[in-house]
């Protein structure tokens, strides 16, 4: 344990005089309360550190103790289903009403351990040496990634503390290492994998506008920028609830306390549609709310992705929701300002872009060290000032993500959620993901998607035109295009996160809905070509059924949806009969 003494302190930054060597990024215990800190600069006999807790009461002369290790978190079975602060320290109801410095109690859960290897077995880093009993995913006990050797001893099945050694490994040099169910890993360092794999399948989100128009690949990265109130958090929460990942890491970075409370309140009572288990069992919440110490906000993002990688290494598919990466960037800016670094664009440090790149680069689909396939999909919310997407965090983020979900104020104000603007958003992995849809029995996906986007684009163009010439003066086909686009917006893209029926939409139901919509649009096109005025199409009662399809036909009503197809056919037959009769008469 190296020692230093505080020489200067201001806000969350301190300088301390060292007598023994410290490392950059070394974790520190600061002052009597042993507040958590991290070395950020070394120069001569002075170290500069940031402190992750309220520094009130610290003074020159107070001790600073080095841990000898970079800022790390303990990864183990006690993580899932719980809420932590930005440095993975538990925040339970039992920690009291108020978040206090020095609270840093280590968690010490007891778990039932089942050994999976025997004495003399050879183990490499990342391999599974046992299982933890219990429901939910993430129960494998992993050898720390950088350790390998021969099992010298392993404890029998039984209940042990998470941090109690249960395994002894002798490495090639003859050194013996004691391994517990949990192990430490430095947050700023990506966990190694055997191999990076390329995108193959989408992460199914259950949100129509995403899965159908702007999918994100498993192990991919998506950003959702939007001004306040446009729906970033609700969308992140919807994804956390319904996406088909095995594990959700939800990091509230500089956002509202009530949103964390909301997740904590709701998730235990919601059922994972795939496993039937409470959603909370697959969820980890990492909370550094906007009124918690700013420096810890910067670390919370790294903590979250490290936790995500840990589950990935168990062969699980992990989705990481970061709300909001802008607050993280601002924390970076604030700390940089305190260090007197030269500010760049909008005051952000020049390394903002590379930090963002490093973070998104940790999203991946991999063959883990133990050979299992796992992935981390990263979904970052961005909160641009005044909703202006040209600001640095949005524009740099855009360079590193492959799916871009631009939230639009106008749509949000009309309560047309999710307020993703279809013409300002994009997804780059569409070609790869089309194969997956094909396997799901939807080989038209790419074609439908193209038509849908084309329709929306025409709508934008025609609306501009209609503003000049009047809607009624547009030719009938164009009037129909507007009608069809309205239908797609209202009946397909809109999906309320609060509707018990519609908050989740399986790929199967999306396909069925899309087919019905396209059937209607095709028949309407034929009818208009044959001379039916668009106003008559607009007056068809079946239109209302289609507009409320999502609301009224849930996952259990897929059968009933096929009846709608015949109703559509019948409605157009009636329309034609009527027209023929009129033509004759």
């Amino acid at each position: 344990m190296t020692q230093a003494v505080i020489q200067w302190i201001g806000g969350p930054v301190l300088k301390a005089r060292v007598s023994e060597p410290f490392q950059i990024h070394e974790a520190l215990a600061v002052g009597e309360q042993r507040l958590l800190g991290e070395v950020i600069q070394l120069s001569g006999d002075l170290l500069t550190a940031q402190v992750y807790e309220d520094t009130t009461g610290l003074k020159p002369g107070d001790p600073v103790v080095g841990s000898g290790l970079p800022l790390s978190v303990a990864l183990g079975p006690g993580i899932l289903g719980n809420i932590f602060d930005g440095l993975l320290r538990p925040l339970s109801e039992a920690s009291g009403h108020w978040f206090q410095p020095g609270l840093a109690a280590a968690r010490s859960g007891q778990f039932r351990f089942e050994p999976g290897v025997g004495e003399g077995d050879e183990l490499a880093g990342g391999q599974v040496f046992g299982q933890v009993d219990g429901p939910g995913p993430g129960r494998a006990c992993l050898v720390p990634p950088l350790l390998s050797g021969r099992v010298r001893s392993i404890r029998p099945a039984g209940t042990y503390a998470e941090d109690e050694p249960v395994l002894e490994i002798e490495d090639a040099g003859g050194r013996v290492h004691r391994v517990a169910m949990q192990h430490d890993w430095p947050v700023r360092r990506p966990r190694p994998a055997a191999e990076r794999l390329s995108a193959d399948a989408p992460m199914v989100t259950g949100q129509r506008i995403l899965d159908t128009l702007f999918p994100v690949a498993r192990g991919g990265r998506a950003a959702l920028p939007g001004g306040f109130g446009t729906g970033k958090t609700v969308l992140q929460e919807s994804l956390a609830k319904w996406c088909d990942a095995d594990v959700i890491v939800y990091v509230g970075c500089g956002e509202r306390g009530n949103e964390m409370a909301d997740v904590l309140d709701e998730f235990p009572h919601l059922e994972d549609p795939r496993t039937g288990r409470p959603l909370m069992e697959r969820t980890v919440i990492i909370a550094n709310t906007s009124n918690m110490p700013v420096a810890a906000r910067e670390a919370s993002i790294y903590t979250a992705i490290t936790v995500a990688e840990y589950f990935r290494d168990q062969g699980l598919h992990v989705a990481l929701m970061a709300d909001s990466t802008s607050r993280w960037a601002e924390a970076l800016r604030e700390v940089s300002g305190r260090l007197g670094e030269l500010p760049g664009e909008s005051g952000y440090p020049a390394y903002l872009a590379s930090r963002l790149a490093d973070f998104y680069e940790r999203a991946s689909r991999v063959k883990a060290l133990n050979g299992e396939e796992g992935s981390v999909t990263v979904i970052g919310a961005v909160s641009p000032p005044a909703g202006d997407f040209s600001e640095p965090v949005t524009s740099h983020t855009k360079r590193y993500v492959r799916s871009f979900w631009a939230l639009d104020r106008g749509r949000a104000q009309a309560r047309s959620y999710p307020a993703i603007h279809p013409l300002k958003s994009y997804a780059e992995d569409v070609d790869t993901l089309a194969r997956w849809w094909q396997l799901q029995g939807n080989s038209e996906w790419r074609e439908y998607r193209r038509r849908l986007l084309g329709l929306l684009e025409s709508q934008a163009r025609l609306e501009r035109m209609a503003r000049i010439v009047g809607k009624d003066s547009l030719p009938p086909e164009q009037q129909l295009t507007l009608l069809a686009a309205d239908l797609m917006n209202e009946g397909f893209l809109r999906q309320s996160a609060f509707s018990e029926v519609d908050r989740f939409c399986s790929p199967k139901r999306q396909t069925a809905m899309l087919r019905l919509m396209m059937q209607f649009i095709d028949l309407a096109g034929e009818a208009v070509a044959a001379g039916t005025p668009p106003a008559e199409i607009a007056a068809m009662p079946i239109l209302r059924t289609l507009q409320r399809l999502g609301e009224e036909f849930g996952e259990d009503d897929l059968e009933r949806q096929s009846e709608v197809a015949s109703e559509i056919g019948a409605a157009f037959n009636a329309l034609n009969d009527h027209k023929e009769a009129a033509d004759v008469g």
Binding site: G10, T56, S95, S346, P385, Q413, A414, R415, R467
Partner: protein, 463 residues
């Protein structure tokens, strides 16, 4: 608790709000200090940075009148605190929590840090109790719940004070067990008449005995404005979480607070972010707004109704923008409606209550409340689009449906937004259904078949 230490002759420099002094006593970061000028007047300050020999003191009030030789520094050896005890209500205090109504000091039963502590997110209870404000645009479309922070975004010269006062006077829970309700009024850089009008209105409605006021007047030092909401919220937390009351904190005008923050930041020589406001303004405002909430196991609640005037009427200005990113929605007042004579001039489209979904609907208000609100939003948005079209090509150039929406838009503003008298939620809902009935049924896609049948097609049955 260690005793106070007084330093004299320790000052080495004075620069704006910052004092530089030799550290001749055992001082720690954020210790509260009292800076006493030659004239004997004390000013609140805190230690903002220090090393072995020297310290920087941030004076949180005016430094006028201070000099290097004659200034003494009393060091409290603990952070800035407020002494609290029973008897807060009915009293008037200044920015730093000292009574200015001629009454006695509060009994100091406990001391609480004015910076507050973050509520443990795991200990938060979700705000769900609907507060009936009797304002249709709020109750029906942007509901307020206990423990929420819901600001009014206004423009200079609009009747935001009147609206806030009415809410403070009328707000009630729908089930009678309202509990102990009280109001904390926080005037930040406000003119005397604003504070006086509020006091008078509360007195007239008999609510003054349940009101505590914290005042920083427009002619008082702007640096003090950073303290006013902190002292007031410390008192509000005491009322809510120690005395178990339901507290509504009305804070006006947060724009003055932010201006003061900018001024102080500039005098520290900090690198400004957008429009000269400091980069940490978001976090700073969060330490104020996040003090609203409900806590598991505690019966009291703290609700905030901050008011801010948007500089240049621009909602993208950093003050409303950062606020909107922190608060749980916003009620936006608009000049255009005000000009049309609509009171309260609430612009519903940019307004939002993020906690509405949790506090309305089945089991909370009325099962059809959310759908009605949703449909009204969709229709009014459509009416606004039709207005844009009409302004380009004239009303006659519009298709029939669009013309009906135009009429709906006008009726919506004249009948639902505008209101002379308080309305219950039921009255607001009845009005909402009535307005929707003027539209083609085929346009009401946010309503279910049953809702259509019950409220639109056979209105006789409507409750």
């Amino acid at each position: 608790m260690s005793a106070d230490v007084i330093l004299s002759g320790a000052l080495t420099g004075l620069e704006g709000p910052l004092l530089f002094a030799r550290r001749e006593a055992n001082v720690a970061l954020n210790d509260a200090v009292e800076v006493i000028g030659r004239e004997g007047r004390g000013r609140v300050g805190r230690v903002s940075a220090l090393d072995e020999e020297a310290m920087v003191i941030e004076v949180l009030e005016s430094t006028t009148g201070l000099d290097l030789d004659g200034t003494r520094i009393r060091i409290r050896q603990r952070p800035l605190e407020m002494a609290l005890g029973p008897g807060l209500l009915g009293r008037v205090f200044n920015s730093v929590g000292a009574p200015i109504d001629g009454g006695p000091a509060l009994p100091a039963e406990r001391r609480q840090r004015v910076d507050g502590m973050a509520i443990n997110p795991a200990a938060r209870d979700l705000p769900r109790d609907f507060i009936e404000t009797t304002v249709s645009t709020i109750d029906l479309m942007n509901s307020l719940v206990r423990g929420q922070k819901l600001p009014l975004f206004s423009c200079g010269g609009l009747p935001h004070d009147r609206l806030a006062t009415q809410i403070a006077q009328r707000a009630r829970l729908r089930d009678a067990q309202a509990g102990e309700f009280c109001v904390v009024f926080v005037g930040i850089g406000v003119p005397y008449d604003t504070a006086e009008n509020f006091r008078y209105a509360m007195e007239k409605s008999g609510a003054l005995a349940h009101t505590a006021m914290f005042l920083n007047h427009a002619d008082e030092p702007s640096t003090q404005r950073l303290l006013t909401p902190r002292f007031a919220l410390t008192a509000a937390e005491y009322l809510a979480f120690v005395e178990d009351r339901h507290v509504l904190v009305v804070m006006t005008d947060m724009t003055n607070y932010c201006e003061a923050l900018r001024e102080v930041s500039a005098s520290h020589g900090e690198i400004p972010s957008r429009k000269g406001y400091p980069g940490y303004m978001y976090s700073d405002l969060a330490t104020i707004f996040e003090r609203a909430g409900c806590i598991k196991g505690l019966p009291g609640t703290l609700t905030q109704l901050p008011i801010l005037t948007m500089p240049g009427d621009d909602i993208g200005h950093p003050i409303p923008d950062l606020t909107g990113y922190i608060t749980e929605g916003q009620i936006v007042l608009g000049r255009e409606l005000d000009r049309k004579g609509v009171y309260p001039p609430v612009e519903v489209l940019p307004s939002l209550s993020r906690l509405m979904d949790a506090g309305t609907g089945k089991g909370y208000t009325h099962p059809d409340h959310p759908a009605l609100s949703n449909q009204l939003f969709a229709c009014y948005a459509r009416a606004s689009r039709a207005r844009v079209l009409a302004s380009v090509m004239g009303v006659d150039g519009l298709p029939e449906t669009d013309r009906r929406f135009l009429e709906f838009g006008d009726a919506f503003e004249e009948r639902l937004v505008s209101q002379q008298y308080p309305r219950t939620l039921e009255e607001s809902m009845a009005l909402g259904w009535e307005l929707l009935r003027a539209l083609p049924v085929s346009e009401l896609t946010r309503l279910s078949g049953e809702q259509l049948a019950c409220y639109i097609e056979a209105p006789a049955e409507a409750g």
